[in-house]
């Protein structure tokens, strides 16, 4: 939870308010994916990480 709060502070500092709703939507989808996957395997994509 601390990390998520920190991330919201970060978005505020960066003044990227438009990312908030997107972030919430993406997080929701992401959490569903996490729950569905069980384990996480990092795909090999150069620029993502």
């Amino acid at each position: 939870m601390n990390t998520l709060v920190e991330f919201f502070h970060f978005l505020t500092q960066r003044k990227k308010y438009w990312l908030w709703p997107l972030f919430i939507i993406l997080i929701t989808i992401g959490l569903v994916l996490v729950a569905a996957h069980g384990s996480v395997l990092a795909p090999f994509i150069y620029s993502l990480f």
Partner: protein
């Protein structure tokens, strides 16, 4: 007494370093301990080594700093998905769980891992985070021998930046401009690495080696379709041909169609086409970097240039910059990749966070020959040799160097192990394979029987500083194998110079290591003994490992490499092991 621990991890080539009052005292890559090449995992063993070297506990470390900012990276990721939507759904579905489960929580993970190393290190302690490219820039400027310099960082991508320009003056480093993702020279080069069937973010040096065998016939095609380079060297990539923003590959079908060939499959023969592609992207990258640095020289009118980031490991480009940019002096961070980010982040804390005072020595940089890793006592070496049932001959002082020289002169290949392990990708005479460069067949022998690697890969000479001008011209002063020098134009004209064809690439250049008597006395003695015996002031120096393995670090690593290859002699901390006598013994 301020101790700063720098960490780079969770991407590739993780590392740790320790600064004591602004001086680097220890640094190591995790791969040297885990034996996993470019290991990305948390560098627990590297950290333990740094602490052991300094004889302190983790709790005594004043500041811990990570080399990049995960939140900024995540922001870039989200914005990229938004910008390219609805493309990238598959990539999103794969990457989001990784971030939400793991990568977003790097701070927590680091705290937990540090607490495991030392329970007295409280999880609640502050962990600092430096920008990825700031870390690179700091690693390039602060240990450089310059009071003032333009600092250029170029790599694939950090958080947002892919290329940055800063100006360093004394202990101040000021960012002047940057180019952001997805426009990236590093990613462009990596896209071609992928297209040529090599491993991205690992095998770029193979593309560089292969380039010398081809002709840059596709150069104009690259300029016409893939990249728009402005007069100041800034650039825009045409993302229609690349897949890395949203896909799971570096290039797409349009890219294949442009060059008329699909991506080279792993193990597929290397055709003239592949060599020409390698040559073309090498030439384009070189020209962009020249344009960029020429423009920086004009703009800032400062004579010194520092470079870091993965692209700075391309020694052909470094030499082209030295020749054409206008800068009078260039210093490249020897651990220019992400491992060096740990070092830069730590320097950044010392000079920017703690306002440390910087004392510059114009005659020597602060990297200590990059010999910053672990060393082993003779007792530890003997224990390891005994465990493998190896007999050894104990030879002291000058006789040791003479014997090594005699073996080299006989054409034998030697695994040479001495002192502290190198930090960064180059073997600089402490974990090296040495051979006679006078023999032009030596390259083929080393590639086939010892390194087990592609035949096109070159070998580099380590040469006594006193003879560097004679063989490679006056510009050749680099001690870290970060520049190529033109061999053919110099040494063949020099009277009485013993030729070294075994250490020269097919294009007549060599990635030279200059060995200085004061800064690298032991390795200087090895080459001097060879010179006294043969008149040749250079040896072939390549890393002590086989293909796809990290460089050796411990005596056990060196012994395994010795036993699993056709290396003839192991010379390790004053002990000599001859494989022939071992065979007789068995």
């Amino acid at each position: 007494m301020a101790y700063i621990l720098g960490i780079s991890a969770y991407y590739h080539d993780s590392a740790a370093c320790l600064l004591k009052n602004g001086e680097v005292i220890a640094a190591a890559q995790e791969e040297r301990f885990s034996r996993i090449k470019n290991d990305e995992s948390f560098p627990a063993e590297a950290i333990k080594f740094c602490l052991k070297f300094a004889s302190i506990s983790l709790a005594e470390v004043d500041h811990v700093v990570f080399y990049e900012k995960p939140f900024l990276k995540f922001e870039r990721l989200l914005e990229t998905y938004v910008n390219f939507a609805p493309r990238g759904l598959r990539s999103f579905l794969k990457s989001m769980p990784v971030w939400l489960k793991d990568k977003l929580f790097i701070k927590k993970n680091i705290a937990r891992a540090l607490n495991t190393i030392d329970p007295n290190w409280k999880k609640s302690r502050t962990i600092l985070f430096a920008d990825h490219h700031r870390s690179h820039a700091a690693s390039a400027f602060y240990p450089s021998p310059f009071e003032q310099a333009v600092v250029l960082t170029v790599d694939g991508v950090g958080e947002w930046a892919t290329t940055t320009v800063s100006v360093g003056h004394s202990a101040q480093l000021t960012l002047k401009k940057e180019i952001n993702f997805p426009n990236s020279i590093g990613l462009l080069y990596s896209a071609f690495t992928y297209y040529l069937g090599f491993k991205v973010n690992s095998d770029e040096y193979k593309v560089m080696g292969l380039a010398s065998y081809g002709t840059p016939v596709y150069k104009q095609l690259i300029y016409d379709h893939l990249i728009d380079v402005k007069t100041d060297g800034s650039f825009l990539l045409n993302m229609d041909y690349f897949d890395y923003c949203t896909g799971l590959k570096m290039t797409n079908k349009k890219f294949d169609k442009l060059f008329g060939h699909p991506v080279r499959a792993k193990g597929e023969a290397l055709l003239t086409f592949h060599k020409d592609i390698a040559s073309s992207i090498q030439k384009v990258t070189e020209e962009i970097m020249i344009k960029l640095t020429q423009s920086l020289y004009r703009e800032f009118a400062i004579d010194n240039l520092c470079i870091a980031g993965g692209v700075a490991l391309n020694c052909i480009i470094n030499s082209a910059i030295r020749q054409h940019s206008g800068f009078k002096r260039i210093w490249v961070q020897p651990a220019a990749g992400d491992a060096g980010g740990a070092l830069g982040a730590a320097y950044s804390v010392f000079y920017e966070h703690l306002s440390g005072v910087r004392n510059v020595d114009p005659q020597a940089d602060g990297m200590k020959q990059s010999l910053l890793g672990p060393s082993y006592t003779r007792h530890e070496v003997i224990r390891a040799l005994s465990a493998y049932g190896l007999n050894y001959e104990e030879v002291e002082h000058e006789l040791y160097y003479l014997k090594i020289a005699e073996y080299l002169a006989e054409g034998k290949v030697i695994a040479y192990f001495k002192g502290r392990t190198e930090f960064g990708p180059r073997a600089l005479g402490c974990r090296s394979i040495l051979a006679d460069p006078r023999n032009s067949e030596m390259k083929a022998i080393l590639n086939a029987k010892i390194k087990f690697r592609e035949s096109f890969r070159p070998f580099a000479p380590a040469i006594l500083e006193e003879f560097a001008d004679l063989y490679f011209g006056e510009g050749s002063k680099n001690r870290y194998m970060l520049f190529t020098e033109n061999y053919s134009n110099n040494s063949q004209q020099a009277s009485n110079a013993v030729l070294i064809p075994g250490a020269v690439h097919v294009d007549g250049t060599a990635r030279v290591q200059i060995v200085n008597q004061v800064h690298h006395p032991d390795f200087h003695k090895v080459i001097t003994a060879f010179y006294n015996l043969t008149g040749c002031p250079a040896v072939i120096n390549t890393s002590l490992n086989v293909m796809n393995e990290p460089m050796a670090s411990s005596p056990e690593d060196a012994i395994c490499c010795f036993l699993n290859t056709e290396i003839d002699i192991l010379a390790i901390e004053g002990l000599l092991i001859d494989k022939k006598s071992r065979a007789l013994m068995i």
